[in-house]
C-alpha cells in the first residue's frame, strides 16, 4: 500500500512517497516515482490503485497543459485542487477512480499550500497530512513535531523522522522513499540519507 506524506513549510511544500509497486507478496518495481509534477510549481503525490492514479493524474496534467496552451495562464493551486476534486466527485458515481492525492503548490500570490484530495472527492486544505496506511502512523508524529513556518532543513528532518517511524512500526517494509519540494524556484527532488 502506498505511503504518501506532505507538509507545508515557511515558503515551500515538501512531499514524500514510497517507491515500491507490490502485489501480494511480490515487489514488482521499487523505483516508482509517485510524485508527479503537474506544472512548474505544483506536485501531485499519489496513492491508491496503481493503474487508476497514474491514469487519472496524467489526465489532470494534460488538461492543465491544454488550459495553459489555450489561455496562456497557469492555474492557481486552489483552482487546480477544485478542478481535480470536481473530476473525482463526478467519477465516483460513474467510473470510480481509486486515486488518493496530495496536491502541493507554490503560488506567487498565496504562497505554499497543500490540499488533501481523496477518491470520493473530499477536499481539504491542510498544513500537513498523509495518505494510505502511513496516515495511521505518521499523523501522530506530525502532530507532535510539526510547527508552522519550519525551514526546509527542519522539514526534511521531520520527514526523515516520519519515514523512520514507518520503517519501525509498519509491517510492510517500504525500502525507498522519494522526496520532492516545491518553492518559488519550482519543483526539485531532495536527496536524503
Amino acid at each position: 500500500m502506498d505511503s504518501v506524506i506532505a507538509l507545508v513549510g515557511k515558503d515551500f511544500v515538501l512531499s514524500a512517497a514510497d517507491t515500491s509497486n507490490a502485489r501480494s507478496v511480490i515487489v514488482m518495481k521499487d523505483d516508482v516515482d509517485k510524485i508527479m509534477e503537474l506544472d512548474s510549481h505544483k506536485t501531485l503525490a499519489m496513492g491508491g490503485e496503481p493503474g487508476d492514479f497514474v491514469q487519472f493524474t496524467e489526465y489532470i496534467q494534460k488538461n492543465l497543459h491544454l488550459y495553459e496552451f489555450q489561455t496562456g495562464l497557469q492555474l492557481s493551486t486552489h483552482a487546480v485542487a477544485n478542478f481535480i476534486r470536481g473530476e473525482l466527485a463526478r467519477l465516483i458515481r460513474e467510473a470510480p477512480v481509486l486515486a488518493n492525492l496530495l496536491l502541493g503548490g507554490f503560488d506567487e500570490v498565496s504562497g505554499p499550500c497543500l490540499y488533501y484530495i481523496d477518491y470520493l472527492g473530499t477536499l481539504e486544505k491542510l498544513d500537513y497530512t498523509a495518505q494510505g496506511y502511513a496516515s495511521f502512523f505518521i499523523l501522530g508524529t506530525l502532530d507532535r513535531y510539526y510547527q508552522k513556518d519550519i525551514t526546509l532543513e527542519q522539514g526534511i528532518e521531520l520527514m526523515k523522522r516520519c519515514i523512520q517511524q514507518l520503517g519501525k512500526r509498519f509491517v510492510i517494509n517500504q525500502r525507498n522513499f522519494i522526496m520532492k519540494v516545491v518553492d518559488k524556484d519550482g519543483v526539485r527532488q531532495i536527496n536524503f540519507e
Binding site: L73, L75, S76, A79, G86
Partner: protein, 294 residues
C-alpha cells in the same frame, strides 16, 4: 415551373446585372411562390449590398459580409456607451435615450452585472445585449463551478466574442445587433476592458466608446490619463463626455446608467442613482460655464 416563370420576370424588372444572376441560382433552392416574388421586389429596392446581403453566409466580391456590417450599423445607432479603466477599478457608462415621458427610469437597463468581478454594457439592440449578458453569466458561473475562482478577463472576452462570431456563420440565425463592453477587475492583473463588436472582433482597451458620437468621445478619452484617475474621477469624466455628445435641441432626453467595479467595494455594483445625478449635474454645470466663458 416557378423557375421558368422567374426567368421571364427578370428582364422585365431590371436591366442585366451580374448580381441578379446570383438570385437565379439562389432561387433554385426555393419552392414557394410567395418567397420568389418577395425576393424580386427586394432586389428592385435594394441598393447597398445588392445581392450579397441577404444572408450572413454570403461574401461580397470585395470580401465583405454585409449582414455583419448592417449589424454594426444597428450597434452604432444607439446612445453613447463608454468604458474606462482607472487606477482602482473599471467604470462603464451608457447614455440611455428615453423614448417616452411615460417610461419608468431605471427600467430597460443596458448595464449588467455579470459576476462579482465582471460588468457589461450594451451599445445597440438592448435585447441582444441582454442575451449576451446571460451568456456571460453562464460562462462565469460554469468557470466558478469547476475552478472555484473568478473567470480571467481575456478568457471571458474570448468566449463571448466566439459566441457573437458564431452567429455570423449560419444562415438561420442573425448576428447580434450590439457592441458590448466587458469590464473586469482581477486581484493580480488589475482592471481590464474589452469591446466586442457584432463580427466577434474584440480588443482590450484602456478606454473605449461605442454608439452615436463615439468618435468625439474617443478623442475625449485619449486625453485622459487612466493611471492617475480614480473611479469617482472617471464617473465625472464619462458624464462630461456623454453630456458633450448629447445635443439638447435635437436629441431626446436621456438617462445616464453607470456601473463599476471599485477595488474598495470589492465587487461589481451599479453606481448609486444619487451619485450619478450629482456627477451629471456637475458635468452639465461645467458645460454651461464653459459655454458662457466662450
Amino acid at each position: 415551373m416557378f423557375y421558368s416563370l422567374s426567368t421571364l420576370l427578370i428582364p422585365k424588372i431590371l436591366e442585366s446585372h451580374t448580381e441578379i444572376k446570383l438570385y437565379i441560382l439562389h432561387s433554385h433552392f426555393l419552392f414557394y411562390t410567395h418567397t420568389h416574388t418577395h425576393i424580386y421586389i427586394y432586389i428592385y429596392m435594394a441598393s447597398i449590398g445588392t445581392g450579397y446581403d441577404l444572408s450572413a453566409t454570403t461574401f461580397s466580391p470585395d470580401g465583405r459580409v454585409f449582414q455583419v456590417e448592417y449589424a454594426q450599423k444597428a450597434a452604432d445607432s444607439s446612445g453613447l456607451t463608454l468604458g474606462m479603466c482607472c487606477k482602482d477599478g473599471v467604470v462603464l457608462a451608457v447614455e440611455k435615450v428615453l423614448l417616452s415621458k411615460m417610461l419608468l427610469k431605471e427600467s430597460g437597463r443596458r448595464v449588467h452585472l455579470i459576476d462579482q468581478h465582471a460588468i457589461l454594457a450594451v451599445a445597440g439592440m438592448g435585447p441582444d445585449g441582454r442575451q449576451l449578458a446571460t451568456r456571460a453569466r453562464q460562462e462565469c458561473e460554469q468557470y466558478r463551478n469547476i475552478f472555484r475562482m473568478p473567470m480571467p478577463a481575456h478568457l471571458l472576452a474570448e468566449r463571448i466574442a466566439g459566441y457573437v462570431h458564431v452567429h455570423s456563420l449560419y444562415w438561420h440565425v442573425r448576428p447580434f445587433g450590439c457592441t458590448i463592453l466587458i469590464g473586469t477587475w482581477d486581484g493580480k492583473q488589475g482592471p481590464a476592458l474589452y469591446m466586442i463588436d457584432p463580427s466577434g472582433t474584440f480588443y482590450r482597451y484602456y478606454g473605449c466608446a461605442a454608439g452615436k458620437g463615439k468618435q468625439g468621445a474617443k478623442t475625449g478619452l485619449e486625453k485622459l490619463d487612466f493611471h492617475q484617475l480614480s473611479c469617482e474621477d472617471a464617473l465625472f469624466e464619462l458624464a462630461k463626455l456623454i453630456n458633450a455628445a448629447h445635443d439638447e435641441s435635437k436629441d431626446k432626453p436621456y438617462e445616464m446608467e453607470m456601473i463599476w467595479i471599485k477595488r474598495d467595494l470589492g465587487k461589481a455594483s451599479l453606481v448609486p442613482p444619487n451619485l450619478i445625478e450629482t456627477v451629471r449635474q456637475r458635468a452639465e454645470q461645467l458645460a454651461r460655464e464653459e459655454e458662457m466663458a466662450d
